[in-house]
């Protein structure tokens, strides 16, 4: 059930389940550069793709905000975009081409508008189509919201190659019958997941397998081995791809593997640079390209891609991504090179001092997941009157499993973590974690749920 549409970036067919596009603010302003802009709630519909593509191809600015955004939020973004478009028209005589602005949550929680140029999107879309062999027979299941940059691969790239996009309503991902129906009725050949949507799929499949899927892309976080094992069983004929990136640079690293490797590997490596991308590791030994690393090294990842954002839109101006004269983007992620593989160590801003010892909250959550006793884990430090306590909230590993007892989890984790990194207070969650706009566990909701008990 749905409507078909043609986008003007390429040609494609789009099957939609529900929803319509609401043009929250569509200001038309004729400037010297012929600028126009539109701010849309990213309700998944073919008309949205058409309108956005048409506006972008005319050199306009399109902002996609979460489908459930409030009026005031949409107004606020529209103000930013309108101000930006107006100041662009005055300052820049040259045609920059269209800009897709996606809000991403900064480390302070306040959203930043990332400005993606159409030329870069076009290059990325061409890479994606070539690497995954997108064509008219491709059926992509779009699980994530369209205000997420991941949709550039699972939706825009597929449409541009003439394929179809089966839309899953992001508000109904917990509805196992609905999600299983999407898989069963449309036989997707391509699916991209983030850890939370992978868990939703595994939950919905309930043991069934889908042979139609030939490529599964995992991105946006670390999936537990339990989930990966289930995924390998669900998609027995698929190749699996671990993809690393960020909204600012889109994707830059890919590791392609078999279902067996996806299930068996303890931690998935980050992979090798995507064609045209340059990835560097900034360690004590200096900044080296990951293609040229020999000795073991550890440090921050620095990246340059053919599809980098122009910058952030703030106060009507484009604030550049990087310092002037330096076009390498710091990912603020720590990685290591060992045994010929690049491994993710955790967000640099998730490293903090706990009672004098350096700990990384990502590592602690990974240690919890690796015990295979939990599904999702969320760690944080709280300070009460000078005493720091490490908290860990966790969920069951799967729908048929019980939430493990605190004792069992502590014993299992103590085999993997030194005493100073062990959580002091545990919070079992019988339901899945509340998620934030980025599909990641929403820490403040988790905390308030704990407090209300």
């Amino acid at each position: 059930m749905g409507s078909t549409t043609k986008s003007t970036i390429g040609t494609g067919r789009l099957a939609v389940s529900a929803g319509k596009v609401v043009d929250a603010v569509a200001g038309i302003r004729e400037g010297r550069a012929g600028d126009r802009f539109g701010v849309y709630r990213a309700v998944k519909s073919g008309r949205l793709v058409d309108e956005c593509a048409e506006l972008l191809n005319r050199g306009g600015v399109v902002a996609l905000v979460p489908a459930a955004s409030s009026e005031s939020y949409v107004e606020a973004i529209a103000e930013q975009i309108e101000f930006f478009v107006r100041s662009q028209a005055e300052a820049e005589p040259a045609e920059r081409g269209g800009i897709l602005a996606l809000p991403t949550s900064g480390s302070t929680g306040a959203p930043k508008l990332v400005a993606l140029p159409v030329a870069g999107i076009e290059r990325f879309v061409r890479w994606g189509a070539a690497y995954f062999g997108f064509g008219p027979l491709t059926v992509s299941l779009s699980l994530s919201p369209w205000n997420f940059d991941v949709s550039l691969l699972d939706t825009w790239a597929v449409l541009a190659a003439g394929g179809s996009v089966v839309v899953a309503d992001t508000a109904r991902l917990h509805d196992t019958a609905y999600l299983a129906g999407r898989l069963r009725d449309h036989c997707p050949t391509f699916v991209q997941v983030v850890p939370s949507t992978l868990d939703a799929l595994v939950n919905a499949a309930d043991g069934a397998s889908y042979a139609s899927v030939r490529d599964v892309v995992l991105t946006g976080g670390v999936a537990s081995r339990a989930s990966r094992i289930s995924a390998a069983r669900m998609f027995p004929r698929a190749k699996f791809h671990n993809v690393y990136g960020a909204t600012e640079i889109n994707d830059c690293l890919i590791e392609t593997m078999s279902a067996v490797q996806f299930a068996e590997t303890e931690t998935l490596p980050l992979g090798s640079p995507i064609d045209g991308c340059e990835v560097f590791l900034d360690s004590d030994g200096g900044t080296q390209s990951v293609g040229h690393l020999h000795a073991e090294a550890e440090g921050e990842l620095l990246v340059r891609t053919p599809w980098m954002a122009l910058g952030y839109i703030t106060d009507g101006a484009l604030r550049p991504l990087t310092a002037p004269g330096d076009d390498l983007y710091p990912m603020k992620d720590q990685a290591s090179w060992s045994d010929g593989h690049l491994h993710y160590l955790g967000r640099r801003d998730r490293t903090l001092k706990l009672r004098g010892q350096r700990i990384n909250l990502d590592e602690i959550e990974q240690a919890a997941r690796r015990t295979e006793a939990v599904g999702m884990a969320c760690a944080w430090v709280e300070e009460t009157g000078g005493a720091q306590q490490l908290h860990l909230a966790y969920t069951a590993p799967g729908p048929e499993h019980q939430v493990p007892s605190g004792l069992r989890l502590r014993l299992a984790m103590s085999a993997r973590l030194p005493a100073f990194a062990m959580p002091n207070l545990l919070h079992p969650f019988t339901a899945p974690f509340p998620l934030n706009g980025n599909g990641k566990p929403d820490l403040s909701s988790i905390k308030s749920r704990i407090e209300s008990e």
Binding site: R355, G356, Q357, E383, T384, G385, G386, A387, P418, F420
Partner: protein, 375 residues
């Protein structure tokens, strides 16, 4: 209690009270070695040996530090003496085994071997757990590496009790205490720190570069460093602020003498109620502070946690000391402000009391936490 040392001690104090010892503002950085020797000869450092480290011994030591504060012209020396007693002598007697005590107590208690303790680091002051100095076990010795600062007596010390993270078989055992001799290879005490006050109490930085510390030099159990430090600091606070009480006694004596002899408008200024009140305020603080110190000393043998009481005593006395110096200066008027008056020196020496042995701001927060106030 009249012991041989008691006679020697009172003799020393009597000597110290003689006007001949009245000195003006002391020269920067001069450790009064002569005065230290005289103090050592009085037997003050043997107080714990005679009276034990429990309530009786503590009260005797408190009493002596107060007397020293009251009679000595050199407040820096009092501070160094407190460090000798708490950091090294009390620590060894309470926590070290017999072999270590036999080896180091004679020197420490005769004052011939000056000691101190190394706790603070550039990035770990109040946040003591943040220290990075590490002692790694290698067979029968530890290898100690790190850097410490704000160590009282370091430039003249023969021994230092060093608190460092302990690593044994790759496992972090927590913080332990080690007795390190400053003449061992790898120990560098050459860097001194110039401070605004307490200038005759030498203070400095120390670096440890792969120092070999025999296992036998560890004080107490591996990983017991935090517990030992907690107890040592309690004694250091009691003694240091007993010294402060004595200094306040000195201020009262000076001020009473001054206001009785200084005449204005045909009468002594002491007959002005407001002037007299300033001195009375200091005496009130002395009564309260001294009583609290004695009460805590008694409670140390008991079963309850004296953390709040000690914090209260420290906060109260250190702040009252500064207020008392300011009051004394006001009582002395312009004469108190002259460079030839020792009161300026008193002030600079009193100010750090709110900083060392735990910052008053953090101690207040600790009291609030222990009362159950959520932050």
């Amino acid at each position: 209690m009249t012991t041989i040392t008691e006679d020697r001690w009172s003799g020393f104090i009597k000597e110290l009270s003689k006007p001949a010892h009245e000195s003006e503002r002391t020269q920067p950085g001069d450790f009064a070695a002569g005065l230290w020797e005289a103090a050592s000869d009085s037997g003050v450092f043997a107080t714990f040996a005679e009276a034990g480290t429990h309530a009786t011994g503590m009260k005797a030591a408190i009493s002596r530090m107060r007397e020293l504060g009251r009679t000595s012209p050199d407040r820096g020396l009092t501070f160094s003496a407190v460090t000798q007693l708490a950091s090294t002598i009390y620590c060894l007697r309470a926590f070290a085994d017999k072999a270590l005590c036999d080896r180091y107590l004679p020197g420490a208690e005769s004052g011939t071997a000056i000691g101190g303790h190394a706790i603070t680091e550039p990035d770990a002051g109040s946040d003591v757990m943040n220290m990075t100095s590490t002692a790694t076990l290698c067979g029968e010795h530890y290898v100690l590496t790190g850097a410490k600062c704000f160590i009282t007596n370091a430039p003249v010390a023969a021994t230092l009790i060093v608190y460092a993270k302990t690593v044994e078989d790759g496992v972090d055992k927590g913080i332990s205490a080690f007795l390190v001799e400053t003449n061992w290879p790898g120990v560098d005490t050459s860097k001194t720190m110039e401070t605004a006050g307490l200038r005759t109490s030498p203070i400095g930085e120390v670096t440890f570069d792969n120092v070999h510390v025999p296992v036998t030099q560890r004080v107490g159990h591996s990983g017991a460093g935090l517990l030992i430090l907690d107890q040592v600091m309690k004694r250091e606070i009691l003694l240091a602020f007993a010294g402060n009480i004595g200094e306040m006694d000195q201020l009262v004596a000076r001020s009473v003498h001054y206001v009785n002899n200084r005449k204005q408008f045909g009468t002594s200024i002491g007959s002005n109620q407001l002037v007299a009140n300033r001195i009375a305020e200091t005496q009130i603080a002395i009564e309260l502070g001294a009583a609290l110190l004695d009460s805590v000393a008694d409670r140390l043998d008991g079963f309850d946690d004296v953390t709040v009481a000690i914090a209260a005593a420290k906060i109260f006395i250190s702040e009252a000391n500064v207020d008392s110096v300011v009051n004394a200066m006001r009582v002395h008027g312009g004469n108190g402000y002259l460079d030839s008056s020792p009161l300026g020196g008193y002030l600079l020496d009193a100010v750090p009391g709110a900083i060392y042995s735990g910052s008053n701001d953090l101690l207040r927060t600790k009291i609030a936490t222990m009362l159950g106030i959520h932050s």
